[in-house]
Structure formats: structure tokens, C-alpha cells
Symmetry: C2
Subunit: 588 residues, 2 copies
């Protein structure tokens, strides 16, 4: 019976079959398509214009975001195997250096890194030279790739990484008489790599490369492999550094542990030849998290570039959404309060948690947990309201496939897994150890609420950026183009102006309806809240180590690994959320 | 300049713009599309027929393999979050049970597993009841999903898992007086789950569910999460079991270790109440790897089902490629020799490696490595020849997007990472320890060659299954359908027979050209070689433990984890390769 119903509902004319195929390709409801066709007179006129000239035809063709050589290329296979092989070999070397340390030492690992960094840097220089010489190398730019927050973050963390390398060089210069020269060569090579790569990604993150596609794919995958290897090495080194004295971990907080470890890190037979060694070491270990973030940022951008190789995209700039705070008040104000309270808490926490007295440390932890829990509760309430409004609003989802958007969502959800992991491990640890104090009760509450908040925030952001933007100036989408092309064959609307884009500039200036106003308020609040949730871990708050429950429940090295892998992804997630929420603010 | 060239090359007429958009949607070259249009008179006639009736229109529409509700559903988000949360919480529990063991014991983990298994089983029964009652629930079947090797493997490993559960129940019945009853409840629940799931996947692996899509998505993701949790638990338990005596690992091979561990596994204060305990325990630990494979198989099938929810596919059966060994001789003969030699080696190895004398064990290892190395070398040579022929042949790549094929390739390459990991870890270990004996030299050679062979075999298989099949009876593809619909609007070819499929039956009976013959020979040889490479690890050959280099270089628990995670994926990979090579054999 269902089978028959389905057949009955199917379109019968050729035009309709065609339209329905197009609609289904774009993953859209056919009925909705027909509705659009009936209503969208304005859109038809726009598209009508698009069908006139070659230039417009090029836009219509390229907006489908296709790749020229998907079927025929061997480049993506080779590049995938390069990534796979470098990463797995690197994994084996890192494991060897951790679990063996004698036959495969840290020096061997650094030699391996130098070996992969040099060709990567050379390739980036070659790419730069090549694209300068050949004008047709990059015909299109993906306007969504490499947004300003990602590039800004890259530069910021790149600068920190450079400073880290300088400190490292200064530190190991004191050990030249008794340590391998590789220890100095590696930070030098890494510094050059960071300089070249930051410059490269700043200029070329949006490129959709059209020539030498296979070489470019391989180069980009090599770059990705190098960044992931640097990330893996940095995480391992930081974790090892924190677990030099795992046995004494029960009675010391991470800070005192770190100080002790740092003091005894040099081999006892090898003394530093200058006096400022320990300062340099403290400084460069403090900068490790920034270097880890740098590698994550570079990896994300390189991956997006790789996906864009050979892609043909619409190369005109996206619609400018002007940013203004008109009509919104409550959200930004509330967000600012949370932000200021968070920063105050952070400063007090950072001072008090280093105190000698247990009581003062507990006080600091309590304060930190309370602030975070309250922030998360407020955020959750706002998000739930936002999701309800999305449901009420019934705005259309943006039509057409947008690979960059899908990629963006993938990165968002993927990076949220870091925070998920840390939270779930904390929940299991607290429940396993039993809630013996209010500090741990708060820790549990914070972790559970964080899990809830992460799920809901992901849903809110994905819903937000998938909706068709509330354009005050409407723009035609590729899907309406295609349908309109059909419509136009049949009935030529003569009463509509024909000049390109003459029909699209209908700016509206009236107060926002309450739903849009509410969405803007909510986005603004969430944006500011995410900023404070980003700032606190990024600049060194580590309650996961200051509260000994994790290190007691799991063994120390396990807990250090979980936190050191999970937290940088959590920081990346918060930054990404801020950017996405800004987009939701603008488009709603 | 490039920009202009690009514009010049663009189509100008409406028809051509339209065709080019369609072509670009399908990721195909526009010029090739036009060529097809000019040449494909036969195809046009087929498609012509397709445009006649509603039924055919339904096929044309559905062949585009689209999803009905991609844009609007919240189901996939919710289901993804279910998977994420269950898995990460499970991960935390597993880590807790490994690193703590007191507050979170194995019993807690099993309670968690029971809690997720029961709703999963209930959902599968509900699904069965629902699809039986509602006829329209499953309108389409994906003919590529759940191939017979996957379902057969599922049943085979399912039977082994059931036997394992029976042994486990029998074993723990002996400990009822002093151990938790959960230890008996868990295998009972697991056995019911395996029965229901095997039945469910056997019948429904090909379903493209159309009703209750969101519930189905969530149910499938819950099933996937359950299977992955069972996999994770089994891997952990097996690894823990092998590392009960990590300190004495240097002097014992894994077998003796396992025997000692088994003998002392029961708590000393808790004695088994019946005499056959140790037999049951040996038996169920021997069956663990089959249970691990079962979870991997079920996960792969569930994931494919999840991807197919709401998908509209062409529901007519694929072209029947008849299997025959006409024209091929060398490949199957060579493959059979390798297979027989491999089985003989395997039997001798399994006997000799348990010997007391070091010399005899080394002999067995040498023999094993030599056989494997020779096999891999032969395979590599054949694959290289095959790739050259692919390059010479210039057969078109299959047109259109095929999500199942992409998924298949993803699973193939993904599962090969297990073997990659084991090989690279071995390479690093041997190089780190230094090649002190011919056994380790062979081990190194085998590992390096395996890496090369894996890369090349992946390329060969992907190239093979992406090529347009050498149909003796040609079939129209959706892409030519669309183009032909256009062509047909302009010129109605009256000289071509109109009845559906009257033009497609042109069977050819002549000897194969040498390229096709060679490809068939190569596929047959590789198929049989992959069978032996699958049999040896699947039935218990573990040179990774019998050769002490891995356990010496990495710490024992690290090496056990690497091998226990990597090898099952390697076994899955070989089985998958066999199936894919069979397809390459048929289509070339």
C-alpha cells in the first residue's frame, strides 16, 4: 500500500521529473520546492538575470560547489597514505620514546620531526613561489574557509610558540657541553616552520587550488601530518613532564609537582652552564599549551585547504551582515557580567590555589566551581529558550549543500569531544570515590551540567547556522536558480526588471520581531559566556590537577593524558563556538 | 588569463548550462558528458523507456541515491549525541576499571553494559515487530549493504561468541558462592543480545528505513554504541588477562604466560566449586578474539544501516555477474599453492612454537616469517602489474556518486590501519633493538613489505571497484538518463526500439582480451593470498607475542594493547579485501 501511495505522489511531467531530481539532489523536499517556485517571484527575477550572461552562468555553475576531478584523481589516495604512514610511524616512535626511552629517545623523535618539517617547509615555499608565478593557480577562494578568528588565533598562538622556541634554545644552549645538539637544532627548525606556516596559512587558507592538484594535496597532507605529529609530541612531553614523580602525586598539587620536576629535570651529571636555565625552563613549559593550540589550529586550516583543492566555488563575496547592537541589551549586558565575574574568579583562583593551606586551596576550588556552574546553568537556560524559539520560528533551512558548513559542524562537534571526555572521566571519578566534600559535589555538578550544556549548545549552533539567514537584503540561492530556470522556460515574467541584481536590493529598516530579538540576545550572551570559558583554561586554570580526585582515582599518567589531550580540544571548541555564535547573531 | 579561458570554455545555451550543472553535480567532466550524449544512442533508448512510465520515473528519481530528509531532521543529531555520550562514558568506566579496579570494578562495568544491552535488544525487537506490521516501513533495500561475506562472518563469529558465553556461564557457576551474580547475568544477557542482533542484522542489514526515521536512527546508534562498548570491553579484558604477570613477561612466551595467568586468575580465597573450571576458562579465553571480530562486524553493518536510514535507492537488483574460471589459470593455481603452503606452515608453527626449546621456537618463527614474506612479495609484484594494467586500460570510472561504495572504501582503508599500526610498531621496535638475529631481520622485512603491500593493495582495490564494470550486457546509468532526457526533448529517435530493456541485452561471448584476463588472474591470486593472511591470525597465530621483541621494547601492557586492537582490524581488513577482490574479479 505504501509502495502505491509513493508512486501516486510522484511527478509525471518531464519538467516535474527534472525539478524533482534536482530537488532531491539538494536534499530538499519536492513540495517545498514547488512552493518556492510559486512564491518566489523575486527570486525568479534574480535568477532570470543570472541566466543572461556568461559571467552569471559561471556563478550558477560554480555555486554548486563541485570538484573538478573527484572521479579521476589519484592524488587524494596518495596524500591520504602519506598522512596515514607518517602518523602511524610517528605514533610508534612516540610510544617507543615513552615506554622505552633508551633505544628510542626523545632525540630520535626530534630527528624524525626535523626530517618531516624540512620538506613541509620547502613545499610551502614552493607553493608560494608557484602561485605567485602562475596566475591561474588559484581561480577561486572559499570565502568561508580560514575565518578571521582562526587566522587571528593562529598568529596569536604562533607568536607564543615562537617565544617558547626562543626560551628552549636559550635553555639548551646551557647544556651544549653535555647534551645532543639536536636539542638546539629542533627548536630552530620548528621556529622557522612556524614562521613560514603562519605566513602561508594567513595568505592561502582560502585558496581552492586548481593546478598541480595532486602535488598540492600531498603537500597539504604532509603539512597536516607534521602538525599532528608536533601536537602529539607536545602533548606527550607535557604529560611526561608532569608525571616525572607520579608516586608523590597524591600529596602534591600539580604546581608543586611541576616545580619539583622542573628543578630535577636535567640529568644530575649535566649541569647548566648559565644561571637563568630554570627561568627559561619554567617559561617554556608555561607556553606549551599555546604551542598545542597552535598545532590544532594549523591542522584544522590545513585540512580545510585540502578539502578545497580542485573545488569550484562561487567567488563573489558573501553578503555583508552588518554588526550592530541595536535592539539587544539584556544578552550582552548579562554576558558582560558573567565575563567580568569570570575574570575576577580566575585571577583570585590563580593566586589562592598556590597557597600552602589546604583550606585556602579548597576555597579557591569552590569559588571556581561555583562560578563555572552558575555560568553553565545560565547558558543552558538560554540555550533551551533559543531552541524553543528555533522550533517556533519555522525558518527554512539554508538550501543546497555547503561543504564548508558541513566541515565546520564536523569540527565543532569533533572538538567538543575533548571537553566531553574530561567531564565524563570526572563524573566517573567523583562517583567512584564517593562525594565526601562539597568541593567534589560541586565538581560533579559542574561536570554533569557541562555535558548537558555541550549537547544543547551543539544543537543550538548547528540549528542556527543551518537556517536560511534573515536577510534584510535577500539573495538567490542555487536551488531557486535551477527551479527558476525551468519556470522561466515556460512563462517569461515581463513585469519584473531584468537588469542583474536590480531586484535584490530591498533593505528593510524596522524594529526586529521578538523572536529575532530574543535569538540575538541569546547568541550575544552565549558568545560572551563562551569567551570566559575559553579564557580560564587557556591561560592556565587547571582545577583537574589542583583537585586531587582525578589523579587519585585514575593513575596519574592516565589522568594527565586525558586532561592534556581533552583540554586543548575544549579550548579550541570554545573559540570555535564564539565564532559560530557570532555568525548566528548576525544571521538571526 | 586562466579566468578568461575558463569563461570561454563555459557552455552558453540553456540546455548546455543545465546539462553542465547536472554533470558537475555528479562530479563528472562536462566534456565527457557531451561525449556520452553523442555516443550513447543505446543508452538513450534505455532511458527513453525510463521516462515513459511512472514506475520508471521512480527508478530514475530514486537512483540518485538521495535522502528524503537530510535538511530537516533532528534525528541524526540526537543519535550522534547518544553514540558520543554512551561511548565516552563507557571509555571513562573502562579506564576506571583498568586503572582503579577498586571503586570501579569489572562488575560495575558489566552492570553498565547490561543497562545498555537491554534497551538495545528491546529496540531491535520493536523494530522487527514494527516493520512486520507496517508494510511501507521499508520501501527500498540497498543491494550493496550487508553483503553475504559480512552476514556469513557475523553468523560464524556469533556462534563462537555464543559458545564463549556458555563457557563463561559454566565457569562462573562454579563461583556463585563467592562472586557477584552479575558475572553470570552478564553472559546470559549478552547471549540473548547476540541471538537477537544476528537475526536482526541477517534480515534487515539492507533496509533503507522510511518511517519512524528518527527513532530508527537513535536505535541504530544505540546498537552501534553497544557493540563498540562490547568490543572495547573484550579488548581490555583480553589485554588485562595477558598482562596479569607483566614482570615475568621477558622470559615467558605468551602461551606459558596465559597458562600461568589462567591458573591463578581466581581470587585465592575463592575456589571453584566444580572441577572443570580451568577447562572452561581456557576455552572461553580462546574464543575472545572471535567475539571481538563479532562486535566489529556488527558495528560495520549497523553503521551502514544508519547511513541508509531515509535513503531512496534504486530497488531493482544489480546486474548479475556470473562467476566462472574460464580463461584464467595461473592466478588461481598460484593462489592455491600459496594457500596450501600457508596452511601447512600455520599448522607446523602452532605446534612448534609451544615447544620448550628456544631453538625449535626460533625455527617455527623463521618458517612463519619466510612464508609470509614470500607471500607478501608475490602479492606486491602482482599488485604492481595490476596497477600498471589499470593505467593502460583507460576504462572509465563508474559514473555518479555511490554512497555505499564510498562507505565501503572508507571501511577498507580504515580497517587497514590496524595492520599498519602493528607493522610500524614492529619496525620501530626491531630498528630500536638492533637486528641481532635472522629472526628479527625477517620480522623487519615482513613488516616493511606488509606496509608497502597494504598501501598498494588499497590502491588496487579502490581503482578496481571504482571502474565502470566490463558489462557484457551494458546497463544505463542515472547520469546518462539525465542527459538523455535532454537529448530526447530535442530529437526523438524513432528508429530505436521503445520497449523497456529491449535494447540492453547484447551478451558477448568471445575470449577475453589480455588485459582483462590478466586482471582476473591477479584478482584471483590476491583473493586466495588474502584468505591465508586472514586464516593465520584469525585462528590464533600470534608471532607478535611469540617473538619477545615487542614486549621487551615497549612495556608489556602497551604492546598487548597495540596488538589486541590492531590485529582484529587486520583480520577484518583481510576478509573485506577478499570480498572486494571478488568484486574486482567479477567486474574486470
Amino acid at each position: 500500500m505504501g509502495q502505491e501511495e509513493d508512486s501516486d505522489a510522484l511527478p509525471v511531467t518531464n519538467q516535474e521529473i527534472h525539478a524533482s531530481i534536482l530537488a532531491s539532489i539538494y536534499g530538499m523536499d519536492f513540495e517545498a520546492g514547488k512552493r518556492d517556485e510559486a512564491e518566489g517571484v523575486q527570486q525568479i527575477s534574480t535568477v532570470h538575470a543570472a541566466a543572461l550572461g556568461q559571467r552569471s552562468a559561471s556563478v550558477a555553475l560554480s555555486s554548486t560547489s563541485v570538484w573538478r576531478d573527484r572521479a579521476g584523481s589519484w592524488g587524494w589516495m596518495l596524500s591520504a597514505f602519506i598522512l596515514l604512514n607518517v602518523l602511524i610511524l610517528g605514533c610508534a616512535l612516540v610510544s617507543g620514546s615513552v615506554f622505552n626511552g633508551v633505544q628510542v629517545s626523545n632525540t630520535h623523535l626530534q630527528v624524525f620531526l626535523i626530517i618531516i618539517i624540512i620538506p613541509t617547509t620547502a613545499w610551502m615555499l614552493f607553493y608560494k613561489a608557484y602561485t605567485c608565478r602562475e596566475e591561474e593557480a588559484v581561480l577561486y577562494k572559499d570565502v568561508h574557509a580560514g575565518p578571521v578568528w582562526l587566522r587571528g588565533g593562529l598568529v596569536l598562538f604562533g607568536v607564543c610558540s615562537l617565544i617558547m622556541d626562543v626560551f628552549k634554545i636559550a635553555y639548551y644552549v646551557g647544556y651544549t657541553h653535555c647534551d645532543s645538539p639536536v636539542k638546539i637544532v629542533f627548536p630552530v627548525v620548528q621556529a622557522v616552520f612556524i614562521l613560514v606556516q603562519t605566513y602561508f596559512l594567513w595568505l592561502h587558507a582560502k585558496d581552492c587550488v586548481q593546478v598541480q592538484r595532486n602535488v598540492t594535496r600531498c603537500g597539504l597532507m604532509l603539512t597536516l601530518a607534521t602538525n599532528l605529529m608536533l601536537w602529539m609530541t607536545a602533548v606527550t612531553e607535557e604529560s611526561l613532564h608532569q608525571t616525572v614523580y607520579p608516586d608523590s602525586s597524591t600529596n602534591y598539587t600539580s604546581r608543586t609537582l611541576l616545580l619539583r620536576a622542573a628543578a630535577a629535570d636535567g640529568d644530575s651529571s649535566c649541569q647548566c652552564s648559565h644561571t637563568s636555565c630554570s627561568i627559561f625552563e619554567h617559561a617554556y613549559y608555561y607556553l606549551y599549551p599555546f604551542n598545542i593550540e597552535y598545532s590544532l589550529f594549523a591542522s584544522a586550516m590545513t585540512y580545510v585547504m585540502w578539502k578545497n583543492v580542485g573545488r569550484l566555488v562561487d567567488d563573489h563575496p558573501p553578503h555583508e551582515h552588518r554588526f550592530h547592537l541595536r535592539d539587544v541589551l539584556l544578552g550582552p549586558a548579562g554576558g558582560l557580567v558573567v565575563l567580568v565575574a569570570g575574570i575576577a574568579t580566575f585571577v583570585v583562583y590563580e593566586v589562592d590555589v598556590l597557597a600552602e593551606e589546604q583550606e585556602k586551596r579548597d576555597m579557591a576550588l569552590t569559588m571556581y566551581y561555583v562560578t563555572n556552574t552558575v555560568t553553565i546553568i545560565l547558558m543552558t537556560i538560554f540555550i533551551v529558550v533559543g531552541c524553543v524559539i528555533f522550533r517556533l520560528e519555522r525558518r527554512e533551512h539554508a538550501s543546497g549543500k555547503n561543504p564548508t558548513r558541513s566541515l565546520d559542524m564536523g569540527l565543532l562537534v569533533g572538538s567538543s569531544m575533548g571537553q566531553f571526555t574530561v567531564s565524563y572521566f570526572t563524573i566517573v571519578a567523583v562517583l567512584g570515590m564517593g562525594i565526601d566534600s562539597h568541593v567534589n559535589a560541586l565538581n560533579l555538578a559542574w561536570s554533569i551540567l557541562t555535558v548537558v550544556e555541550l549537547c544543547l549548545q551543539n544543537v543550538f549552533i548547528i540549528e542556527g547556522i543551518r537556517r536560511e539567514p534573515h536577510h534584510d537584503v535577500r539573495r538567490a540561492s542555487i536551488f531557486s536558480n535551477l527551479l527558476a530556470l525551468h519556470a522561466q522556460e515556460e512563462r517569461r515574467p515581463s513585469h519584473i526588471p531584468m537588469s542583474p541584481r536590480s531586484s535584490i536590493a530591498i533593505p528593510v529598516h524596522k524594529p526586529l520581531p521578538w523572536k529575532r530579538k530574543m535569538l540575538k540576545e541569546i547568541s550575544a550572551f552565549l558568545l560572551l559566556s563562551n569567551i570566559i570559558l575559553w579564557i580560564m583554561p587557556a591561560f592556565g586554570a587547571r582545577p583537574q590537577f589542583d583537585n586531587p580526585i582525578g589523579t587519585e582515582f585514575y593513575e596519574f599518567h592516565m589522568w594527565v593524558a586525558v586532561v592534556n589531550i581533552g583540554l586543548p580540544f575544549g579550548i579550541f571548541y570554545r573559540m570555535h563556538s564564539v565564532a559560530s555564535l557570532f555568525e548566528v547573531y548576525l544571521t538571526s
